[in-house]
Symmetry: C2
């Protein structure tokens, strides 16, 4: 049995016409001899519409009931696509996460997949050519509906591909992974091949095409992951184990994000464990601190800067105000919150064998007189914060410096 | 444990404001010391909107996938109401039909409830004050989602009340059951008390407030059924075992329906089993033939007239054209289909002990020169067909003749 997993995102399911077109695409692939497990997101803006409904009822909806509500989004899209497939003569059947026994951890709205019933899927493939599964959702030990959090449908698709040892194709509204966001780096190149670790960094750092959890899972089980456009026949990007080559480009891509705020706390006493307490508490509250940097300012005091998602700004601020590290008399003075920042990152396996990437970044920034507010590095990436008004200029300058654009000659000849 | 079952229909859940008001109503009842099992329909026009979506995909949606789609309607309303209840400090939890193990027969879109897991409900009442259950839906032996057909939420509510031996309150947008449709019989009286059998006939014959299957089930298990308005404190109508009293009004109510067509087949040979074949075939196709009357016309031939729902008109016509009882040379001549009919019915337990109801109907019709096109009778009802333009006049005249209106003196004094 040749099995393929395909995942279609919300923009690919934004109208009944698009759902029918997706049905046609799947039918053709089925005719090529593949049994297909299809994983769907909710249609277009359905998930956001459901969240708005809940917010019309209460500011703080019960997480269990929120998952009950959100689960209807994918249930709608799987039933409609399956109707379209059956209408095209395809033997198809839909399953919710609940029906398929996609067991998750208990945590509502951010559950993790624990186990999937492989038997049920293989048994269904005896009778059906296409199985359409609701992504993003599962069932916990209490037999409650759970959801995997934003981007969870990618994770559902990869987890199902792992169970079936199948290739996983993620269809979306862009043609693949690019060296930079084509809206900001107009001549960004499509990447044909990228390694799991590079892709994970790219995703985590703001390349929104595929969820980093999904890439991590695919990497762990060595599942080939292919990202391409739903409604185009252009080849997409293959994510798979990648050998490091000598000729490798130093940098694979550049990403940027305007979704964070930078918080700076001044004049901390480095001899206490206050800082440890603060970050544990932020972690307990599920506030995702991203970049952290720390400098000594004068004498025995230090400054610490970190970024967290804009959405968590207020929760973060309250937590810091209640925190014992804050001088009760000067609370307001010792904390700066800067909203107007852009986080820029360059990613590339090639960094491992090429030194001087950081130097080239600093040089490019200095030459263009763009002040850097904060820097962090990982083995295969460098991220830095600039004032948000410089975002596009930085992308363009770094794109030029690291040759991330299409070869002009090729394009114009 | 004092348990009460309450059902709220789609019009009571037509907006977020209404859902919050329903939440408030339930919270108050809970404070009076009742544990409440709430059964919900889908919000407002949600079910029709989902059907339209499916029809945008294909003219003939797969029934299994249709149930998968429709089940999202109630799942949405239960999660939102439960959020509103929790927000009001009420310990509440929602369950889909699937979760609660509401086992049904296999037939999609018109399943019947077979079994409900009483244990799970009682266990949930240990921890929660209010359990909010999706009406209209269940799960069959294949672990597929099923729906009970139109009006199925009433049946879900009554079935759950039977399991719990609890009183069942049906909340809707009218104040109870009236002697006639107040839109057509403006001075119709609200009925305080009505027996199960009378109510079943009223419901079947077009009084749309409550589904006849639900009334039948309540009668079988002697569950008191109370119908009232969601957003009014006026007393409603109690449906329960009713002793026949000597002073009983002869007629309890009048109903009318414009939802049927009358089909007449001419010149049939009564010595064959063709007619039996025709009605079995209509039955197999789930076309619900309602009134049937048959007359001899000349010599050894007969005419037969029957009514069926307008929605089934085309399916019915095709079936009759293919049927061997039809003379192949004169197909078109021997069948009349009349769409412009109204079916009028009067219902009352009192008919059993009072003769002359039919005579009074015929007399009223004759005095007003309204031709009767067909008549059928049951033990406690008489139904007849007239040209649809006479509908309102018939209701008014019969309402007067059988004193179905408010006592004018009382109203005006």
């Amino acid at each position: 049995m040749k099995i393929l997993v395909q995942k279609y995102g919300g923009t690919s399911l934004g109208s009944l016409e698009k759902i029918k077109a997706v049905g046609e695409k799947i039918r053709k692939k089925n005719e090529e001899g593949y049994k297909i497990l299809v994983v769907l997101s909710a249609m277009g803006s359905a998930t956001n519409d459901l969240i708005s409904l809940a917010q019309g009822i209460t500011e703080k909806p019960s997480p269990r009931e929120m998952d009950m509500l959100l689960a209807t989004g994918e249930q709608t899209s799987i039933s409609l696509l399956t109707m379209a497939l059956i209408d095209r003569g395809c033997r198809a059947i839909s399953y919710t996460g609940y029906q398929l026994g996609i067991e998750t951890t208990a945590l509502h709205q951010n559950a993790k997949i624990k186990k999937i019933d492989q038997e049920k899927i293989l048994a269904a493939f005896e009778d059906y050519e296409v199985i359409v599964v609701a992504g993003f959702q599962g069932i916990n030990e209490q037999q409650d509906y759970t959801t995997l959090g934003r981007g969870g449908s990618d994770t559902s698709a990869v987890a199902l591909a792992c169970i079936l040892q199948a290739r996983c194709e993620i269809y979306t509204d862009v043609e693949g992974i690019f060296t930079g966001d084509p809206g900001k780096l107009p001549k960004a190149r499509k990447i044909e091949n990228i390694g799991y670790q590079e892709m994970m960094e790219m995703s985590s750092l703001g390349a929104g095409v595929i969820h980093p959890r999904a890439v991590e899972l695919a990497g762990k089980y060595k599942i080939p992951l292919y990202v391409a456009s739903t409604f185009s026949d252009q080849p997409g990007t293959m994510i798979e184990d990648k050998e490091e080559k000598m000729e490798e480009a130093v940098i694979t891509g550049i990403t940027s994000s305007l979704e964070d705020v930078q918080i700076t706390i001044h004049q901390l006493d480095p001899t206490t464990d206050h800082l440890y307490n603060l970050f544990s508490r932020l972690g307990e509250e599920n506030i995702n601190v991203d970049m952290i940097s720390q400098t000594v300012v004068k004498g025995d005091l230090m400054n610490v800067s970190f970024t967290l998602p804009k959405a968590d700004r207020e929760r973060g601020r309250k937590l810091i105000e209640q925190w014992e590290g804050v001088n009760p008399h000067t609370k307001m003075d010792i904390m700066d919150i800067n909203e107007d920042i852009a986080k820029i990152s360059v990613v590339g396996l090639g960094m491992r064998s090429h030194s001087g990437v950081a130097a080239k970044v600093f040089q490019t920034m200095a030459e263009n007189r763009i002040p850097i507010k904060m820097v962090t590095t990982s083995e295969i990436s460098i991220s830095w914060v600039v004032d948000s008004r410089y975002e596009k200029e930085v992308i363009r300058r770094i794109g030029e410096a690291f040759s991330l654009e299409e070869d002009n000659g090729k394009m114009d000849r």
